[in-house]
């Protein structure tokens, strides 16, 4: 149907259908095409994952043995700080925006994103924002070293990097806000007739809610770092007790952004997994509407739990209790989600192709991260865990085996649709099993280290922690191989992979599987007529 529409308007629409714009600049720099911009985001995210990964390699190499061996402590602190900023703002977030760019228009039957030129701008700001951030590594005084959370007064004591880091964050914020506005407008305005809100694929739903979170909190981060800037350069006293301000106030404003940010990085992951598990269980998603409402509940709760990052900083008891109970409440909708994924698999006709392996791995390992999160939510327990490797283990379980696993799952799941080529299942599975072994070797011992009292962001430690640090570093070196595997698997698929069918996966349902593989440059130029079998949820006649 999309092909028909394209043919009808061929004469005056010269880059229609498979007529991609010619030349590098027209194709990639001036582009307004959601698929090309999605690809740009994904390639950018991959590069950033490699850079951030290299930094984690420096960290784990230094920590392999007690004592200082490889790097100066100050450089070590730069590595932990920039690793986090790169992975969060350069890796996970752009990867999900890339997936959203590629898949949202395909999944709702839209010709493109709602505001295609702005979409281009959202992407192209990102490489320049990271140029600004990474440049600081080469400045006198080096990169920011006060932790990615930029707590004052420490963060303001950096050298010339402070202003650069703050402006880099402003640029990332501008990019994220424009990207999120685009995604909301696309989802609310561009759905094909019959694609009611409660028939949308869950990936679209989770992105709708994520985009709302982004627009709500990225400006707050911008405000917080602007206050840092004026405190350092323009004599304001927001975070200076001598002038009536409070350094803790920064933490409140920062985490008002920071906690929803956590869900910005995991809600689209929930969406991806909710697409993949039904496909390979050959059953519709269990409790579709409950999934939607659970996602919305998590988003709402994310605004009222921020101070659980600051239990030990000094807060009235009432505040501690409120934030503890509110945080624990998040376990309820999250539990609904995990229950529904498991119930979707229950008595399903399951098969374990590579995307499914990553999705099942996600469910199990993300849940471990969720449980350690519950432990951290308990105020008296948190006084013990705070700022230890237990926290590091916790958020790497939710971000690496959570968010990153779902990104990898999504790439394997939709890759045949993007390129028209299948990849090697054998090597895809190898990639998964290799990762599963080494990621647990890397992060699971950090729970023990944290409970035993090893502090985070420290280049040296007591010899008592030596064994598990050694194990953890071995895991890290294993993990450093995985981007190479993935690159080779996908490169080989692109060059030599067998052709993919239109539906690709036997159990796949949804509009994206009704267009050819690879998806033509322009799809759904005219809104498709939706048939019942094209919808993942519900039917077009109600």
């Amino acid at each position: 149907m999309a092909t028909h529409a394209a043919a009808g308007h061929h004469a005056d629409h010269h880059d229609d259908h498979d007529h991609k714009p010619q030349g590098f600049w027209n194709r990639w720099v001036f582009t307004t095409n959601h698929k090309d911009i999605g690809t740009l985001y994904l390639v950018f995210a991959f590069i950033m994952f490699c850079i951030g990964g290299a930094m984690s390699g420096v960290i784990r190499a230094e920590l392999m043995k007690p004592g200082l061996q490889l790097v100066e402590p100050y450089f070590f602190n730069q590595m932990t700080t920039v690793h986090a900023l790169v992975m969060i703002f350069g890796g996970v977030m752009p990867a999900f925006v890339g997936l959203g760019n590629w898949m949202i228009p395909l999944q709702i039957g839209a010709p493109d994103m709602a505001l295609p030129r702005m979409n281009n701008w959202s992407f192209w700001i990102m490489p320049f924002a990271f140029t600004v951030l990474l440049l600081t590594l080469f400045l006198p005084g080096g990169a920011p070293a006060g932790g990615w959370t930029l707590y004052p007064p420490l963060s303001l004591q950096g050298g010339s990097s402070v202003a650069f880091a703050i402006f880099a964050i402003h640029m990332m914020g501008i990019s994220s806000i424009m990207g999120a506005i685009n995604i909301i407008a696309t989802i609310l305005n561009m759905r094909a007739p019959g694609m009611d809100l409660l028939k949308m694929p869950l990936f679209v739903w989770t992105w709708l809610i994520t985009a709302f979170l982004l627009i709500a909190v990225m400006p707050v981060l911008a405000g917080a770092v602007t206050m840092l800037l004026t405190d350092k350069f323009f004599h304001t006293s927001f975070f200076n007790a001598a002038g009536g301000g409070d350094p803790v106030m920064f933490q409140h404003i920062f985490w008002f952004f920071g906690h929803p940010e956590v869900y910005i990085m995991i809600l689209p992951a929930f969406g991806v997994v909710s697409e993949i598990i039904p496909t390979f269980s050959r059953k519709p998603l269990f409790g579709y509407q409950a999934m939607v409402y659970a996602t919305a509940s998590i988003a709402f709760l994310s605004f009222i739990v921020w101070a659980h990052h600051m239990f030990t900083v000094g807060m009235p008891l009432g505040g501690e209790l409120f934030f503890m109970y509110a945080t624990m409440m998040i376990a309820v909708p999250t539990g609904v989600k995990v229950f529904n994924w498991v119930s979707t698999m229950w008595k399903g006709s399951m098969s374990f192709e590579t995307p499914m392996l990553w999705a099942v791995g996600f469910v199990i390992l993300f849940t471990i991260g969720g449980f350690s999160g519950l432990m951290l939510a308990i105020v008296p327990a948190d006084f013990q865990y705070h700022d230890t490797y237990f926290v590091v283990a916790h958020f790497h379980y939710v971000l690496v085996t959570g968010a990153l696993f779902s990104i990898i799952a999504a790439v394997y799941y939709w890759w045949p649709k993007w390129t028209g080529k299948m990849y090697s299942e054998k090597w895809g599975k190898f990639h998964f099993w290799w990762t599963i072994v080494f990621v647990n070797l890397l992060f699971f011992p950090q729970h023990f280290l944290g409970l035993a009292g090893m502090p985070r962001r420290i280049p040296d430690y007591n010899v008592a922690f030596a064994d598990w640090n050694f194990v953890s570093s071995i895991g890290a070196f294993g993990m450093l191989c995985t981007p190479v595997f993935m690159f080779l698997i996908l490169w080989h698929s692109k060059k030599h992979g067998p052709a993919a069918t239109q539906q690709v996966w036997e159990g796949a349902h949804g509009l994206e599987w009704t267009v050819p593989s690879p998806a033509p440059h322009h799809t759904f130029t005219e809104p498709p007529v939706i048939r019942a079998q094209d919808l993942a949820h519900g039917d077009p006649t109600h």
Binding site: T32, A163, H170, L229, S237, A242, V248, E526
Partner: protein
């Protein structure tokens, strides 16, 4: 596709160089600003070059959109995308101001009373800030910036409130005139709105001069000066932008770009103006009166 029968199809623009120009402009601006702050000699000129590139980008990009709109390439659905884009942009702006209002409320309700010894702050006050009693306005236990006086709410700020509220009325009259096709009335009342915006900015500048010259109230006057100038300053910046936008729209009305049913550009600016107006009401209440 420019024809009426193509109008049921959503207009997806061809490639555009403006986002790339905007990226270069933003990058130059930010690199320039960071170097300027670090006292590198080329920082300041680079900043201004970057801003100039951004202005050039806006001129070109909005120009493209206006030309496409006049050609009739946009159908109702495209119009809705623009509306949603503007609405969510304004929402993000509200959240940006929210951060600074949050800082103001936090300082007034928590950090200043704690420094004064309330609650768990008793020992801190005794050992570190003895003799400091919590009050508002304050520049903290160390009297950062020296003693200062505040701007009384019922003088210029009240006048500015009335000016902005009036401008909200005039722009609404202009909107009704546009819908009714009364061109002269539209131009007069839109022009009045621009004038009121400019007048507001004039009084705001006078107030700043008064604060700096006679009241010793500066950005460095502790947490009061910080919140006062950052809130009113960012608001003033938005009024400046809004006034420029209104002026652009006035010229576009003069050129006859808008029709009774198709004038999203006008409405977007009107929404923005009302947003600036509402933020001011919050400022007037919480910064000046209370």
């Amino acid at each position: 596709m420019a024809t009426a029968e193509g109008k049921h199809i959503y207009y997806v623009p061809h490639g555009s160089k403006w986002p790339a120009v905007g990226t270069i402009g933003l990058f130059t601006t930010m690199i320039g600003a960071a170097n300027w702050l670090n006292e590198v000699s080329w920082g300041k000129p680079a900043f201004y070059v970057g801003v100039a590139i951004l202005l050039f980008m806006m001129w070109g990009w909005f120009g493209d959109v206006i030309r496409e709109s006049i050609k009739g390439l946009y159908n109702h659905q495209v119009d809705t995308s623009f509306r949603m884009g503007m609405m969510w942009f304004i929402f993000s702006e509200i959240m940006f101001f929210g951060a600074f209002f949050g800082a103001l409320f936090y300082a007034r309700m928590y950090s200043v009373p704690w420094l004064g010894g309330e609650g768990d702050g008793a020992l801190t006050n005794f050992y570190l800030h003895q003799g400091y009693a919590a009050a508002w306005p304050t520049n903290g236990p160390d009297s950062i910036g020296g003693s200062f006086q505040t701007i009384p709410a019922w003088g210029v700020p009240l006048l500015n409130t009335l000016i902005l509220l009036t401008s909200g009325v005039t722009i609404t009259i202009a909107h009704h005139a546009l819908r009714a096709g009364h061109r002269l009335q539209l131009l007069v009342f839109l022009g009045l709105t621009v004038a009121l915006g400019a007048l507001f900015l004039f009084f705001q500048a006078e107030e700043y001069i008064e604060a700096y010259k006679h009241l010793n109230l500066t950005l460095g006057s502790g947490v009061y000066g910080s919140t006062f100038f950052m809130l009113t300053g960012f608001h003033g910046l938005h009024v400046t932008l809004g006034t420029i936008m209104l002026l652009v729209i006035w010229f576009r009305c003069l050129k006859g770009h808008f029709t009774k049913d198709n004038h999203f550009g006008f409405e977007a600016v009107a929404w923005y103006w009302h947003f600036v107006d509402v933020v001011w009401l919050g400022l007037f209440m919480f910064v000046y009166v209370l």
